[in-house]
């Protein structure tokens, strides 16, 4: 009887010792920057968001910045991506290099794209974020949220955004929105409905870039 108790105690001890914290505490952020049409003028502000992210993210976190163009479901549009090293000094070096790569975004986006494929960008972002295995995944969409697709592009696919937070940043009003604000609110509402139906953990909009800390 005593021996059985001893064995059970030993098993419990072994079991407890194996109980580490399996949940990942790492964060992964994917920033989609709209480079289409007139919104390309907002790229300076996008850089401000990137700087904020570089200053906020910790070693072990992941960050990617990608353009939203006429067709965005491709890795080619990722301007910079990095999973920061566990060593803080090394992570610092990575952040410096990241900033330099993002600086080239403005040059690359000169002229702007004819169409805006936000859905394609989100699909690409979800793919990237799920691969990181991070515990907290966020898609930042720096856009006016006006999607425009050419006739050949098909985006009628089911998005899977389970466990991913979606934050729309700097959603500027279009000239048509000024005429009829319902268009603006309707656009936002439709995106919220769409990402939530795709399983997103949260939908949020931040237009005041002075309070970027609200994105987390």
């Amino acid at each position: 009887m005593r021996r059985r108790w001893l064995i059970m105690l030993l098993l419990a001890a072994v079991g407890l010792s194996g109980c580490g914290d399996k949940k990942s505490h790492a964060r992964a952020v994917y920033l989609l920057v709209d480079t289409s049409g007139t919104y390309a003028q907002e790229l300076d502000r996008a850089e401000q968001v990137v700087n904020f992210l570089l200053g906020t993210l910790n070693p072990g976190d992941s960050l990617a910045v990608a353009r939203v163009k006429s067709r965005s479901f491709t890795e080619k549009d990722i301007v910079a991506k990095a999973t920061f090293a566990k060593d803080p000094l090394q992570a610092n070096g990575q952040k410096r290099a990241f900033k330099e790569r993002v600086s080239a975004l403005k040059e690359k986006s000169k002229g702007g794209s004819a169409y805006t494929d936000i859905t394609g960008g989100i699909l690409q972002a979800a793919e990237f974020l799920n691969e990181t295995g991070a515990g907290r995944k966020t898609i930042l969409i720096f856009s006016d949220m006006q999607e425009e697709l050419d006739a050949k592009t098909e985006r009628n696919v089911n998005m899977n955004l389970t466990g991913i937070r979606v934050v729309a940043l700097n959603v500027t009003k279009l000239a048509t929105d000024n005429v009829d604000p319902k268009r603006y609110y309707g656009r936002l509402e439709s995106w919220e409905k769409r990402v939530k139906s795709a399983g997103a953990a949260e939908w949020r909009m931040i237009n005041d870039l002075e309070h970027l800390e609200r994105m987390f």
């Binding site: 914290d21 949940k23 505490h25 910790n58 072990g60 803080p88 992570a91 610092n92 900033k99």
Partner: protein, 485 residues
Amino acid sequence: MSWQIVPGNSSLSMLLLAALALAFLYAARQPLHGVIHSLSRALSDGLRLGARWLARAAVRLKERNTLVLLAHGREEVTQAIEREFQRVTVLVQRDLQGYPALQRRLLDDITRIEEDYRKCGEVPPPPPEWVKAVEAVAQIKHTGDGVAQKLLEVISESLESIYEQVLGEYRRAYEERHRILDSFVPFGRSLNETLLKVDRNIGGLQESAARIDAQMDRYEQIAAGSERVEHSLTASATVQFVISALVLVIAFGGAFVNFWLIARPMSAMVGGGEYIVGDLEASHIAALVIILVEATMGLFLMETLRFTHLFPRIHNLPDRMRRRMLWVAFSILFILAGVEVALAVMRDQIIAADIALKRGLGGGEIVAAVVETAWVNKIPVAGQMILGFILPFALAFIGIPLEYFIYSARTVLGGLLVLVVLSLGFVLRLTGNVTRHLGRALVMAYDAVIFLPLMIERAVLMLRGRPVASVSDAARLAKTPETLL
């Protein structure tokens, strides 16, 4: 279904219902009184029993506390007496061991002084012939004879020269005596110093003996278990508890500072963003472990130095083994202090790199962390390095207040527990009394409600000539026999 007995007449219905209720209550008076009595007695007896048990438990606890307190006090006094005896042993071994030599030296000094003193007493005797001649010349009468005059003058001249010669010898003899007396001085001083030393040693021995006497008196009082010594030990334990708690709080403050000094650079060693349990970062846990290991090594160091007595096994180790353990604990502590110094440098580098990055993100150009050359800029890192090296050793001393805290906490918390148990007992007893009186009050209230049937009963009994029981009789009957407490 309507409650009205007489449909359409609620007043009459209510009256009839009240009458029915009164009749029912009057009929059920005795059993309901019994129920109330039983319930109140059951409750109050239970509570008072609990109070009694708690009071007895408090007494037992207090006795146990006293036993522990006296045992601890006895142990402390025994240690103090042992220490005093050790001091006396050292004193005796160091000083009294040399007493034969000291005595020989004293005797030598005294002998030399005596010899010199004897030499001082030897005065050269006057020449005897010369005295007789002077006596003969003194008998010559002055007659005015020229020969005699001439003879006397010659004698006078001779006497003067002899006198000068004798005086010279006399002076030389005195000079010799003074010289001998001068040579007394160092011997006298040496004698004085030796005697002073002896006096000091004897004085030290007397002080130790007085201290041992005082401790023995205390020991006897503790052994007798006197109330005075119990109070004094309790007061002493309370003071020790407060002081040691204060010192421990300060030490924890130091440990906290130490933790934040090494937690950040630890992420470079164990990796940042790694979590082990909940929201605790691996680097934080690693820093905590280092500090705890330092504290443990400090405890062992204090234990092997015999400053503390938390681990009897270490205390009872053979001296050689104990010394080895001391060096092992000290070496580990020293290495950990060195690691903390390295971490302090690393911390400074990480902070410098962070500042450079954030400056760049804020709009400036990103540059690699510049190593500042001005000595003023090196003060913070030097301060961190010194702190990193000193704090582990400072933490080592935590064992001393910890030991006092543990021993005094037993007394203080034991006393508090007695107080809590007594208070709980008082509350239980009070509740028991209140319950008992509530039962009586309920019985009286019951009778007050059915006062009408009771009055009728009394009138009937009076008419029949039987003794009438007052309303309060029921309450009296309800009184609980004072069987408990």
